[in-house]
Amino acid sequence: MSDSLSVLLSKRDGRRKIVNQLLLGALFLAALSAVAPLVNIFIFVIRKGAPALTWEFLTSLPQPVGEAGGGMGNAILGTIILVSLASAIGVPLGVAAGVYMAEYSYSKLSRWLRFGVDLLTSVPSIIVGLFAYAMVVLPMKRFSAHAGGFALAVIMIPTVARTTEELLKLVPTHLREAGLALGIPRWKVTLQVTLRTAWGGIMTGIMLALARAAGETAPLLITALNNKFWPKSLDQPISSVPVQIYTYAISPFEEWHQQAWAGAFLLVALVFALNLTTRLLMSRTPVSKD
């Protein structure tokens, strides 16, 4: 009896061991298949994009169909202009909201603000585009860099606000108290002690938000539109790298596809480099550790 029981038990345990091995293996496979698409995208972006990434590509205007050469110079400049416009509006507002949420965290406005920032994060970017269209394009009666910059700013704000809030909360309370105990007014403590301590982290957060904004396409499609020439004025339509990639990708021309891949290489390299540096910096600064 005890013999057959032990046989039964060992049989069951054997099965449990096999199930254990199989399913742990399945978890490993899941992790692998989550990474596989990224690797595949990298391979194609590098293989197809890198050869087309020439000096001419970076500095010249797009050529008409059928003519070789040409580039995305105007689109690269356009993206830089759009992102600068966006950060001119988005960074101050986002940082202000973030500081308010962290330093006056128990006020009623702060609670509403946290809710609002969450809402804003969940708004799809194309909807932000519609909003910018209604706010800027309709009154000005034309697609423009202003409208595009405004849309990107709205997209940046919740990210910047959240990062600022989270990093300020990591600053130890006793630093603030020490400042206040010395008789320094609260605003000076916030600006020169709290914000300064967290500034490195907040900057990297802002850089990541900028990188994200630089890759946004949908809202620009209905606000900044596109332009074949160098940007001349902010109240004109302006080209940008993502919109140019989109335009080239859905065209039927082989040369344009190549240009699209080169543009994609540019964007991916930017995003990857920024993320990697952030990661390396973050693992060193003590403030970011929780």
Binding site: K17, V19, N20, L23, L24, L27, F28, A30, A31, A34, P37, L38, N40, I41, F44, P92, A97, Y100, M101, E103, Y104, L109, S110, L113, D118, L119, L120, S122, V123, P124, S125, I126, I127, V128, G129, L130, F131, A134, M135, V154, I157, P185, R186, A211, R212, A214, G215, T217, A218, L221, I222, I245, Y246, A249, I250, W261, A264, V268, V271, N275
Partner: protein, 314 residues
């Protein structure tokens, strides 16, 4: 004496100004939300007046004759997101479990970084990759195979185009994996270490520990993570626009081209000229906005409640 009282007033003055500036910024940010709702409603008003709620259930989308119904797009959004969830959930949750429970931190860190990178890649790059790499592969390899083996299901019938609902679903799945994986990891991390030790102490295998002590107890949080992923899939625009084929039709087959609420806006808005056409697209936008907000709110509420309960149990 007089001087010191002036300085005191100055101090409070500075604080008041500082707080006022911060408040102003904060109120502006809050006003953005109100502004978005207001502007969308205003843009959409002509369609709301003309079609009412019937707009949401009519499948007639004909800009030439000014007839508009949003059903094909609602259907497209729902189905493409559903495909994405079916594909992404097991991969993302499995990966999260592997990273948190199985892998050592030397293995987990780089893998976690790569998965996070998936979220950072611009969606237009996904679209490009979808058009030139994924769609041809689907057309030549996967779709004929699916049609042969599972062709008795209406899901897998019809000619393989490559681009279409299935392609959009696969791209969306890749794009929402990082969201689901990241939130799931947070939820798993909230499980007290003592629960794992208790399971192991009772003689459970590692898998049984993961399943019983970690996964089962944090299931509500995982569901929250999945709903957050859904929220991201619903609103994704560019990648979907580039690979879904852009045809406003309701078709049972995943091989057929379709269109989503977000993709129709990106696809038609830049060229829309009729007032009613613009209004109809804005109405689609309004509906998408409401759905995204509700879905995200629900997910956040679930995750937040979960985290609070776990915090209490610790």
């Amino acid at each position: 004496m007089a001087q010191s009282s002036i300085r005191r007033i100055d101090v409070h003055f500075g604080d008041r100004v500082f707080q006022l500036v911060l408040r102003l910024g904060s109120v502006l940010v809050l006003l953005l939300i109100g502004g978005i709702v207001l502007q969308l409603v205003q843009l959409a008003l002509p369609t709301i007046k003309q079609f009412g709620l019937g707009f949401l259930v009519s499948s007639d989308w004909d800009p030439v004759n000014d007839q508009y119904g949003a059903l094909p797009f609602i259907y497209g959004t729902l189905v493409s997101s559903a495909v994405a969830l079916v594909l992404a959930c097991p991969v993302a949750v499995g990966a999260a479990l592997f990273l948190n429970e199985v892998a050592t931190s030397r293995v987990a860190k780089p893998i976690a970084f790569l998965i996070e990178m998936l979220a950072a890649i611009p969606s237009v790059v996904y679209g490009l990759w979808g058009i030139f790499v994924l769609a041809p592969w689907l057309r030549v390899h996967l779709q004929p195979w699916l049609g042969e083996k599972l062709g008795f299901l209406p899901l897998f019938q019809g000619p393989p185009f490559g681009v279409g609902m299935l392609c959009a679903g696969v791209v969306l799945a890749i794009m929402i994996i990082p969201t689901i994986a990241a939130i799931s990891r947070e939820v798993f991390r909230a499980v007290p270490q003592a629960h794992r030790e208790a399971a192991l102490g009772l003689g459970a295998t590692r898998w049984e520990t993961i399943w019983l002590a970690v996964f089962r107890t944090s299931l509500p949080g995982v569901i929250g993570a999945v709903i957050l992923g859904l929220g991201r899939a619903l609103g994704e625009t560019m990648a979907v626009t580039m690979v879904i084929g852009n045809r406003p039709e309701v078709s049972a087959s995943l091989f057929a081209p379709a269109q989503t609420m977000a993709s129709v806006i990106a696809n038609e808005y830049p060229e829309a000229s009729g007032e009613l056409h613009i209004a109809a697209l804005a109405s689609v936008g309004l509906a998408l906005f409401l759905v995204s907000v509700v879905i995200n709110g629900l997910a956040r509420w679930i995750v937040w409640r979960m985290a609070r309960n776990q915090g209490g149990a610790r």
